[in-house]
């Protein structure tokens, strides 16, 4: 039985395909269209999913959309009405898009896929999120927490779920029995600060998280004027300070600015005592200013973490569950996740790696299969490599076509060379297998470097221009050694660590060993690597470990600034040429910048990473 899940028209359009409950393929549309955060109908992602299974749309038993358009339409009408006349612009714009497109979702799905309407289903936005986490987790029962900007009405939902693994009397169930509704949204609160700190909403939230360790949470009280959190974690925004509910342009208003001061310019340099210690050639006023922004970032981060923790504690008390499944955009806050793992009341925490709206596509399909059809569980999601693969033949054909000089080597020889390059402080573009599901590069579309010296951070940064210093590089560490390097207990068993979904303290003794991937405050957003689900990546890091004694690599996503992570060999090659990456690895083919010659002199040199 084939079920296709689809999410689109808000941000991050995606498609995911299940075959008898097993994930066949899942991908975000942006990787194919090369438009970052593309929200258009995911035609190419759907095509890819169907192709992966070797089927056509006619073979689909169901297509499930990840939210309920009518409910959402109701919310938009109500919130526009509630804020008349300020909402006039928003209303006008919304009505045009709703009546030309969003309202006719069913028509669109039927038309695009050529399916009879009775095979088109709709799942609730937060139930899609919940299913994307719970039905990928290995648990039989779990508490559920979904957190995002807004779905239909809900912004935060909690509840309890049980899974049918074939044990007698079990059945699949997700009950979201408590919720917080629009406009009271933790996600939108965080986004307001994201905008105020000069980053792009829906995209720059993790930069706020990265900036936070540079500051001290001095302004928690001020933040608490915006959000009132009850002891059970339920919260209420003071809408006096916000305009996201009636504006398409602004998320916060002048009252917010009166409280926190003028917003940070997106172009301004981030300079504090921590980034430029001591030296006084930089205007100290700039330092003071940036220190203030960092302090505010730290404050909103702390409030977010504590709110999530409060919700978690109440949820555990209420459900008595040992396990927690989380999804929704806010569940990508890896610092908060780390605290939930360490300080939270749950024994185990599971977060969907595509926690944002793209994950809703997978969740909607899982919801239909396990809840609507009541089929028992068959699989857990053990890795995130569900995208398109380009095997050696395809890479070979590409290189031939382009006339690029390359070297084809078997793995052991290849990795020897790569380790050699890494220790020589060269930057590697690493492309293999199926691309990742979700926003993180996890070793199939990564840029790799040696994490052992502080200088390497500078090296990568000098090749990766315009990167703010508060944006850390992630350490990819062999699962076997993770406890040596990080203090959070049981990281080897922790699913979040596989998906770069939590931040942990680096062991004090190791902070100087891997300075390039140790963020300010001695933390790292690690990824554990297991041979079982990425043997080549594991082998490479292992070989690097044998050569250096440090089984850790610096890993950052393989893309040019402002672009989605690369998908095809062509994308990878373009990025390689357009940046100062030294060595490109496409499966077993090695391309060296020095061998390229003038023919491939880049016409545009962009910055890597975003």
């Amino acid at each position: 039985m084939y079920i296709l899940g689809i999410s689109c028209f808000y941000h991050d359009a995606a498609a995911a395909l299940l075959n008898d409950g097993q994930i066949v393929a899942a991908a975000e549309e942006e990787r194919f269209t090369r438009i970052k955060g593309d929200s258009a109908f995911p035609r190419q992602a759907i095509h890819f999913c169907l192709e992966s299974a070797g089927i056509t749309a006619q073979d689909l038993d169901y297509v499930v959309f990840y939210e309920k358009p009518l409910l959402k339409f109701e919310r938009i009408l109500y919130s526009a009405l509630a804020t008349v006349p300020r909402s006039a612009g928003l209303f006008r714009e919304a009505m045009v898009t709703w009546f030309s497109e969003k309202l006719w979702m069913k028509t669109l799905l039927v038309r695009e896929l050529g399916l009879p309407p009775q095979r088109v289903l709709f799942a609730d936005h937060h139930l899609s999120h919940a299913a994307s986490a719970f039905f990928c987790s290995p648990y039989t029962e779990a508490a559920i927490l979904t957190l995002d900007g807004v779905g239909e009405w809900t912004t935060t939902a909690t509840g309890y779920a049980t899974a049918d693994w074939g044990q007698p009397g079990a059945h699949n169930q997700i009950v979201l029995d408590q919720e917080v509704r629009f406009p009271h949204s933790l996600g939108l609160l965080y986004s307001a600060f994201t905008a105020w700190l000069g980053f792009v909403v829906n995209n720059g939230e993790y930069k706020v998280m990265g900036m936070a360790p540079y500051g001290t949470p001095r302004y928690v009280d001020k933040v608490r004027q915006l959000i009132e959190v009850a002891s059970d974690g339920s919260f209420h925004l003071n809408m006096r300070y916000f305009s996201f509910h009636h504006s398409t342009q602004h998320t916060y208003n002048r009252h917010f600015v009166e409280l926190f001061g003028p917003p940070r310019s997106p172009k301004s340099e981030f300079i504090t005592d921590l980034t430029h210690p001591g030296a006084s050639e930089v205007a100290s006023s700039l330092k003071v200013k940036n220190q203030y922004y960092a302090d505010v970032a730290a404050s909103i981060q702390v409030v977010t973490e504590e709110t999530i923790l409060a919700i978690g504690r109440d949820l555990q008390r209420r459900t008595g569950a040992r396990n927690l499944c989380m999804a929704g955009g806010v569940a990508l806050n890896s610092v908060a996740n780390g605290r939930m793992v360490r300080e939270g009341p749950f024994e185990n925490v599971w977060v969907q790696p595509a926690a944002g709206d793209s994950g809703g596509a997978l969740g909607a399909a899982l919801y239909a299969y396990h809840i609507l059809l009541g089929r028992p569980r068959v699989a857990t999601m053990e890795h995130a490599y569900w995208g398109q693969a380009y095997r050696s033949e395809a890479v070979f054909a590409f290189l031939q076509k382009m006339g690029v000089p390359y070297l084809e080597l078997p793995d052991d020889k290849l990795f020897e060379r790569v380790v050699d390059d890494l220790t020589q402080r060269r930057v590697i573009g690493w492309f293999q297998g199926r691309f990742e599901w979700g926003p993180r590069a996890l070793g199939n579309r990564s840029i790799l470097a040696d994490p052992r010296s502080e200088a390497m951070k500078e090296v990568v940064n000098s090749k990766i221009k315009f990167r703010e210093p508060f944006r850390p590089f992630a350490p990819a560490v062999l699962e076997e050694y993770v406890d040596e390097f990080f203090t959070t207990p049981n990281l080897a068993q922790n699913y979040l660590a596989r998906y770069m979904l939590l931040v942990s303290q680096v062991s004090p003794s190791k902070q100087t060993v891997i300075p390039a991937t140790t963020h300010v405050g001695g933390t790292g957003r690690l990824q554990t690597v297991r041979a079982g689900w990425n043997s080549r990546y594991h082998a490479l890091i292992q070989m690097f470990g044998q050569a250096t004694g440090v089984p850790v690599l610096l890993n950052t996503s393989f893309n040019l600034r402002g672009e989605p992570i690369v998908a095809t060999p062509q994308n990878a090659f373009n990025t390689f040429v357009g940046s100062d990456i030294d060595v490109l690895l496409l499966e077993n083919f090695m391309v060296r910048k020095t061998d390229l010659g003038s023919r491939w002199e880049p016409t545009f040199k962009g910055a890597v990473g975003e």
Partner: protein
């Protein structure tokens, strides 16, 4: 809790107050609202000759509750709605036309110059109309009083009219109530009193009663009328008195001081007579016709509409006979004066406007239980005039034509002619008198065409056609683009979604949003049709 409720209450009150204030201001600025309560018939006076007539030397401003007009009414010293210069004496070069009638000739809904009589004079003069060899100035005198029947008109002509040395008499006949007016048993049922001298057709002759009229001496006639009162149109002898509601003072004060009250009052009565009569019991609005109607019970049908009943019930045939006899009297009076007599058939609003008739059925539900012939009064009248040998002009066909062209000829609340209605009547009357072989009295060049063109209406109709054409084109285009099968399926799905959407809002009891959603869907439908089609750019500018 209590504090919260009090705050809520205060906020709500403030909201209501502000809304009322805003409405009041908006109405005063932009809407047509009468400046005070509508004045009564200040120009009417009892009269021994006709029962009632126009009060000599009276002037004043008159308008109705819906403020459909606002007119200076002036009555000269002879009791005519005419300039003071008009007297009995007639200068030799003047050809004088007397137009006899009721409220349609009184025409206090339009200015004196706009009455069809005055427009007729102007048209004939412009056309250089002349009789025989000498060209003379043509003068028209309106002789009409609201509520008059042909009996009163006859009495006036007999005792007053000849003093004016008329050259032509035009009898404006209004079948919708003239038959009733002419026959006292029906008029009594209508007015519940004898208010004028009246004729009775008995043994081949017309007997005149209560003449000259003295209200103190009508008791014998009154008794007889009660006996004669027609079955089926039973006269309710109980006077309909309404106890003034407790809020009467407030209601009156509001009506005097608030434009909002004066604006809503007549519209409310028209929209929901039941609610209005309930409201009248509180005193917030004055008890009006709707209250009196209600007091008559659910079987009530006003007497006047009996003329439309098919077959004509008793005693209406008697009214026809009496009227026929009155027509002979008119002929006799005019032949004694040696002048011609012409008839003008005035159409009723409910006869020409289906909406008005429907409204009648709505107001008097008992009417739905009977059969009606809307054309009957006019047909009867034409037969009667033909039988009497009086040339008659039926305005109905011309009015129908003008109504179809989008001209408003009747006032909605008042039901008399609009200025345009008067123009149409005058133009056709002038043409008839000049050109029609059966009635022509004048030789003249062509009567100048003054028929109005309803430009606004034509423009809207044009826009309507263009929109329809564009929609048609886009429909064809979208069918062509998608292929008929796909188009059919997509349209079906969209209609399905639309239905789902409406059901969804109903099921969630979102009734507040429903009107908005429906309007949006209409616009949305346009948007969908417009997509990828030629109309797109035009429709997008709407947003």
């Amino acid at each position: 809790m209590i504090r919260k409720l009090v705050t809520l209450f205060l906020l709500l009150s403030l909201y209501v107050l502000l809304s009322v204030f805003a409405l009041e201001l908006g109405l005063r600025l932009f809407a047509k609202v009468p400046p005070t309560a509508a004045p009564g018939f200040f120009w009417r006076t009892p009269d021994p000759l006709t029962g009632w007539s126009l009060q000599p030397n009276t002037s004043g401003r008159w308008y109705n509750a819906m403020y459909e007009f606002d007119v200076e009414v002036h009555v000269n010293e002879l009791g005519l709605r005419a300039p003071d210069s008009v007297g009995y004496a007639k200068s030799p070069d003047v050809y004088r036309i007397l137009v006899l009638g009721d409220s349609f000739v009184e025409a206090v809904q339009v200015s004196f110059e706009q009455t069809f009589g005055q427009q007729l004079a102007e048209l004939l003069n412009d056309a250089g109309a002349s009789i025989q060899e000498d060209v003379r100035r043509i003068e028209v005198i309106n002789v009409g009083t609201g509520g008059w029947g042909n009996d009163q008109q006859l009495l006036w002509l007999r005792h007053e009219g000849h003093k004016y040395s008329p050259d032509l008499v035009i009898l404006a006949f209004f079948p919708a109530n003239d038959y009733m007016n002419n026959y006292m048993p029906l008029e009594f049922a209508n007015q519940q009193a004898i208010r004028k001298p009246w004729f009775e057709w008995a043994e081949g002759q017309l007997l005149l009663h209560d003449f000259p009229f003295d209200p103190e001496k009508t008791e014998p006639g009154r008794q007889r009328m009660r006996e004669l009162a027609a079955p089926g149109f039973a006269v309710s002898t109980a006077e309909t008195t309404v106890n003034p509601g407790a809020l009467q003072g407030l209601g009156e004060w509001l009506h005097q001081s608030s434009a909002l009250h004066r604006y809503l009052d007549p519209r409310l009565r028209a929209a929901s007579p039941n609610f209005a009569s309930w409201l009248a019991t509180t005193g917030l609005i004055e008890a009006g016709r709707e209250t009196a109607d209600r007091a008559q019970g659910s079987e009530y049908i006003p007497v006047a509409y009996g003329i439309y009943a098919d077959p004509l019930p008793s005693p209406w045939p008697e009214a026809l006979v009496t009227t026929r006899a009155l027509l002979d009297e008119f002929k006799q009076e005019t032949s004694q004066l040696d002048i011609p007599l012409r008839g003008l058939l005035i159409p009723a609003a409910e006869e020409l406007l289906p909406g008005m008739w429907a409204q009648l059925l709505n107001t008097y539900p008992a009417m739905r239980m009977q059969t009606w012939s809307i054309a009957q009064p006019a047909e009867q009248t034409k037969a009667l005039f033909a039988d009497a040998g009086i040339p008659l002009l039926d305005l109905a066909p011309m009015f129908r034509q003008q109504l179809a062209d989008g001209n408003a000829l009747f006032l909605y609340e008042d039901r008399h002619f609009t200025p345009v209605g008067h123009t149409v009547a005058a133009y056709h009357l002038a043409r008839w008198l000049v050109q029609d072989p059966t009635a022509a009295l004048f030789s003249a060049s062509a009567v100048p065409n003054v028929l109005p063109v309803a430009w606004g209406h034509l423009v809207w109709r044009g826009v309507g056609w263009i929109v329809l054409a564009l929609l048609g084109i886009s429909l064809v285009w979208s069918v062509y683009r998608n292929g008929p099968l796909n188009w059919w399926r997509n349209t079906g799905l969209m209609l399905g979604t639309t239905g789902e959407l409406l059901l969804f809002f109903v099921r969630r009891q979102n009734f507040v949003l429903l009107p908005l959603v429906i309007i949006l869907l209409l616009f949305g439908g346009l948007l969908v049709v417009a997509q990828a089609s030629v109309v797109g750019p035009f429709i997008y500018t709407l947003f």
